[in-house]
């Protein structure tokens, strides 16, 4: 028989060699892993050693006949492959020796190869004609440990909150009628307030624990229950309460903050107008100080100047109204004023008109409405006067003299909300991935004609490629958002302009990612994903608008790009063209970066999997885009094109820069984070997830890297192959990876995900 040709020393390596050569992914570092193992394997005699080395020569790969013979040898062994073995292939080899030679010590060198090449049963089990004991999900990693790593120092808060979500009020139900839905959501929000979650981010005197990081974490977890509840909660406590907390002073805090946190006062955040959404500075509502009565008169001047899409508008008794503040005939720009819009009987106060916005694509449990003000008079004290005040003698005063800067300082208080929206989007992506993965680990469709059982969806390479990079991205974005919230809420950092830029970018890429992922999950679950009961549909409708509200993504990405261009020194949100340009002149020189030619063709695994390479590539792209967009703008300006128009002409370029910067930033944050993971096993897993994220992102922009000559065609192909390979490699752990999100069982009630 064929087997006679091989000695025991050679035979044990044959399953490995067959696996290695059946795919064409062998790189030099992989060859060296195997070589090293063989060199250190003292049980081999010289002849065996030399033969094995000849089988590793990339220039003279084994012939098809040799490969087929190897396969026969493996098939004839009558040994079963046990996927749940700790080292399945090394164990398989060992048993093969047992079968043929009787004697069979476990060879640690084989184990080393198995570990270092990341060989997984699902890479090779299809290749062998042998009995296989399948193992749908590996238990090599522990989802609780993963979840603990993500929760970080908020573990107690998050665990308590998840446990609280067992309350029957949070059970999933079909909700078609907006009135009933809104009332239910209101009750949920009131219960959350009662339990202290509403006030969480306020300081202790107002019922809170000053914990913005925990607040953001529970905000994400709310998405496991319902999007409408999450958003109404955010409007009530984050936007309305937040405006009192951050734009008001002690008198406002004392009067309203505790009651808002308890939801005894319901309030809305009346900023957006029908005519002015993204361009907040252009809102038309006026707040005119009337000296005679020492009051402020709120007024909607024109047809499209009503407040629009205001969440909580149907339930609120108060509103933070953003308006142009006019004192003594002079417009001091946008300020926020507290207005009582309903009396204790829930009747509208004189001069206030509110209309329901009606049904939406999603979030129908949020009561959005339009608000008109007709000469509504409120006391001067109602001006949220932290950044701009009207003194008792009726004069306007602000410590921030530049009105532009004042405006952006006020808007800066919205940044926390943007982080929360991104977190909520991420929560939606995680839940839909968990549902899609659990479905794919049960659902079978099609098979090889010789098999009785059909294949699991999760075993299709295309299915792995659809879901696995998205899971990796969730881990990266989770870490990035936790990090940015920590920095944002750090009182030691006074100048938040850089953080604001980073948040603008992260919010954009993460909410788009969330939408794409939910859509992919819907399709990956087929018709089942289309049924409301399976809960992906609601997520899709709810998360959709996250790309628009709290700052339209296209607008935010341009802000991010302008931040990068001005090195984060210009005011956030500012058109700020001239300032940016002045800085460009000074800085462009620094931004040029030459391509490192040794990188261009390096397709070695160790290099492709190294954070150093990914970071270099991301930074290169950001810098290069910064440089080229700056050069283009300068060129236009030199030719006499006005700066506003010059920026318009490079708009798509700015969007690319904003994205590139944000991806680079998220990844850098994640790499730093992985360094802090103490446990080596989990650290390696997180690094692998980071690598998959990085390679997947690099692939998206591969055409650009190729155009720049940063990577060669061969390297570009290698990136694609590595993304596929990593997705397959993580297949045995995919169930654990979605369990690692920590979504409570009581929130995973979709029939297909049980």
């Amino acid at each position: 028989m064929v087997i006679k040709k091989y000695t025991a020393g050679v035979l044990q390596y044959i399953p490995f060699f067959y696996v290695i050569w059946s795919d064409d992914l062998l790189s030099y570092s992989e060859v060296s892993v195997v070589k090293k193992a063989i060199e250190q394997d003292k049980s081999l005699d010289k002849k065996e050693y030399e033969y094995l080395l000849t089988c590793l020569d990339k220039n003279t790969p084994p012939s098809y006949e040799v490969l087929k013979n190897w396969k026969n040898v493996i098939s004839h062994s009558q040994v079963q492959l046990i996927e749940s073995d700790t080292y399945p292939l090394a164990t398989f080899s060992q048993k093969m020796l047992c079968h043929h030679f009787g004697d069979c010590p476990f060879n640690a060198h084989l184990k080393d190869i198995e570990i270092n090449l990341g060989i997984q049963p699902n890479h090779y089990k299809h290749l062998f004609d042998i009995g296989i004991v399948e193992n749908v999900v590996s238990n090599f990693y522990n989802p609780k440990e993963i979840d603990t790593i993500l929760k970080g120092d908020q573990a107690t808060v998050i665990d308590g909150f998840r446990d609280f979500l067992k309350d029957p009020i949070f059970e999933w139900n079909l909700k078609r009628d907006k009135e009933a839905f809104r009332l239910h959501v209101l009750k949920q929000v009131q219960l959350l307030a009662k339990k202290g979650y509403g006030a969480m981010s306020y300081t202790e005197p107002y019922g809170g624990s000053n914990n913005m990081i925990g607040y953001a974490a529970i905000f994400e977890n709310m998405m496991y229950v319902d999007g409408s509840m999450t958003i109404k909660f955010g409007v009530q406590f984050g936007l309305f309460g937040g405006s009192i907390q951050k734009l008001g002073t002690k008198k406002h805090h004392d009067a309203y903050l505790s009651e808002t946190g308890k939801s005894n006062i319901l309030g809305c955040f009346a900023m957006t107008e029908t005519g002015h959404g993204s361009n907040v500075r252009g809102i038309k509502t006026t707040a005119t100080y009337d000296k005679e009565t020492d009051s402020i008169i709120i007024h909607t001047p024109g047809k499209n100047d009503n407040k629009e899409y205001i969440g909580n508008a149907l339930h609120s008794t108060m509103a933070s109204v953003f308006a142009q503040l006019i004192v003594d005939g002079k417009n001091h720009g946008v300020h926020a004023i507290l207005v009582t819009i309903r009396d204790s009987n829930h009747n509208l106060t004189p001069g206030v008109t509110i209309e329901d916005n009606g049904y939406k694509l999603g979030l129908n449990g949020v009561d959005n409405g339009k608000i008109w003000f007709h000469q509504v008079k409120v006391p001067r004290e109602n001006l949220l006067n932290k950044y701009g005040n009207i003194t008792a003698d009726g004069t306007y005063h602000s410590d921030i003299k530049n009105p532009n800067k004042r405006f952006f300082t006020m808007l800066g208080t919205l940044v926390g909300g943007r982080i929360c929206v991104a977190r909520a989007g991420l929560g939606g992506a995680k839940k839909s991935l968990a549902i899609a993965v659990k479905h794919a680990l049960q659902r079978r469709q099609f098979n090889d004609s010789i098999k009785i059982q059909e294949d699991l969806l999760m075993d299709y390479p295309s299915h792995q490629l659809r879901l696995t990079p998205a899971i990796a991205s969730c881990y990266v974005y989770d870490v990035a958002l936790t990090h940015i919230m920590k920095v944002y809420s750090d009182p030691k950092i006074e100048d938040k302009r850089k953080i604001e830029t980073q948040v603008a970018g992260l919010k954009s890429i993460i909410t788009w990612f969330a939408n794409d992922t939910i859509q992919e999950c819907r399709e990956a679950c087929g018709g089942k994903g289309y049924l409301l009961e399976n809960q992906i549909a609601d997520l899709k409708g709810d998360v959709d608008i996250f790309t628009t509200f709290e700052g339209d993504n296209h607008v935010l990405l341009q802000l991010a790009a302008k931040g990068v261009l001005s090195d984060f020194t210009s005011e956030f949100n500012s058109a700020g063209f001239v300032a940016v340009l002045k800085l460009l002149g000074e800085r462009i020189g620094d931004k040029i970066n030459t391509i490192n030619p040794t990188y261009t063709n390096n397709v070695d695994t160790a290099h492709l999997y190294s954070a150093k390479f990914h970071t270099h590539a991301f930074d290169y792209r950001t810098r290069r885009l910064t440089y080229t967009v700056a050069m283009r703008i300068k060129d236009y300006i030199k030719k006499g094109v006005p700066s506003y128009q010059a920026f318009l002409k490079v708009q798509t370029h700015l969007l690319a820069l904003g994205k590139a910067y944000s991806v680079a930033f998220a990844y850098a944050t994640f790499v730093d984070f992985t360094e802090t993971i103490v446990d080596q096993k989990n650290k390696t897993l997180f690094q692998k997830l980071g690598t998959l994220y990085a390679l997947h992102e690099l692939r998206k922009d591969a055409s650009w890297y190729l155009e720049q000559g940063y990577i060669s065609g061969t390297k570009s192909k290698a990136l694609r192959q590595r993304v596929e390979r990593l997705s397959t490699e993580l297949r045995p752990h995919i169930g654990v990876l979605v369990d690692g999100f920590g979504i409570p069982k009581h929130c995973m009630q979709a029939p297909i995900a049980k």
Copy 2:
């Protein structure tokens, strides 16, 4: 003053030169256009001629000082730019001469430059500091002419149908309750039937006009009303009626077809099972012939073997049930049998159980349900016996001996439905684009600080890039679908296997395109797009499932790829690995294609805009992917990997091939079509739309073309720039382009689109 330096002959060219040099898009063919005009301009003296030529040298572009001086000259002219002039820039030049020199004949050479370079006011109006008379939409093209071109020989049918849609029953209304919604949709379908639209594709004896092409066209137009109506219509007349028409014989036609066309019989198409969606061949429902009673017994054997997601299930009295036909203990494979599921009182017949599928992400006006059969007995005559019959003596007979071939012949009858689904998706994309464009032509946001009026959304380059290539794609896909339906319904073509492959591919790329487009339109309309009243939200929910039903896109693309691999000779839908591989051996040699090196670096406009280049590139990609995937499969097989596993391993490669082939096919069809347009003006417009589609598609795969060395980095960048430029160039016509879709005014009732 600066002006003194220029003679009249030179001065008239200065606006053109400034526009040309302010962007860096000047290619050799563009230089030659300008050169040619100057050479033919006999009014120039030798000195003027030579000066102008020096201004065109790409190697020594004019200095910034010269450019700024030109700009000053233009600004000082005190001439207004009238966008609605037929040749705005040439006319502007003429007026400038008038102003400075008094004398000013219209110079036809300037006009030629303007036309041949495709210069549009929105390219340059921002560059000049002059008065501008804006023109939101040009009337250069006529939407009715465009619509007529698309309607082709179905104009009468389509116009009649669109007019009929004025009936108040088709008005948009909010529908939250599925019961009310379903009843309303049922009434709509019954009215459509009454007017003869249901039977349209049947032959004359059964109330139709045998017009499948017209049927598909009105199917698309139904989407302008409502997705649920469209799909229920398709289930009743296309799937249920179609199964009788195509799988049944005269006795079935006579008994049921006319009544089905009139909707006097309501029927459903019971194929999919809970356990078997994509893998139809694996369905478990049995149809066992009982010789004693000469009847067929329909039975659901197991837990997940019920019929699932069956449209019309709650309203139907009959069902075409697909089941494994067992005669005399032998399974003859999947056949369709007519089963009466409800009696005249609408009570379920004995043994039949039906359950509502409940609420879905969209299409809630379609009554989807699950159906179980418990030993349901129907007469032998109910077997739809065109391809397989049970004779009076109780033996099975079929003219198609190969059960595999028989199965795929039956499934082939579904292909018409796939074309219709793609058409409906396209209708959804068109309507959402029309809404988004109309909104963007009214909505203003942000401005240059020196301007009072804010800019129209449609004037932002990023907005143009988001919407314009999608509009161009609609035109290409419209033509491709009309073409494929013509070929499909041509009785002269007997072997439909190639068409089936093409339809599988087109259905996939078009339904994905539709989803992406609707999403982009939702976001492009901001919060307004999220309101149900603006009708994008419904389209989003309805069209979503089009990627899954009538064949999951991932499955269909693999079928398309296998079709290409086997050169369309294997059975449609077949796993058919062995057949494919046998053919590969014979054909691979032909498929190799070398890269034409002259193409790699050619960034000349004439080349980039030529259909010859696009076609070559698309064909190259299809052939190359065919070759490489075939080589990979062969390689795996040679190494002993079983063929099923080899195909699995190249799954993502197959998906890429399926897409590439479909894009190439759609574009080739469109190019052929443009050749038939008689009117030169519209022909040029269609060609430009085709070019935008082609360049946009090439850009999506730019990384692949770069990896292959098919295009250089410079050419890749040029493709991107050209996509942006064409999108801007079509800006003045964008309103006309969406009006060209012919969506009736009475179906465009979204408040933001009025």
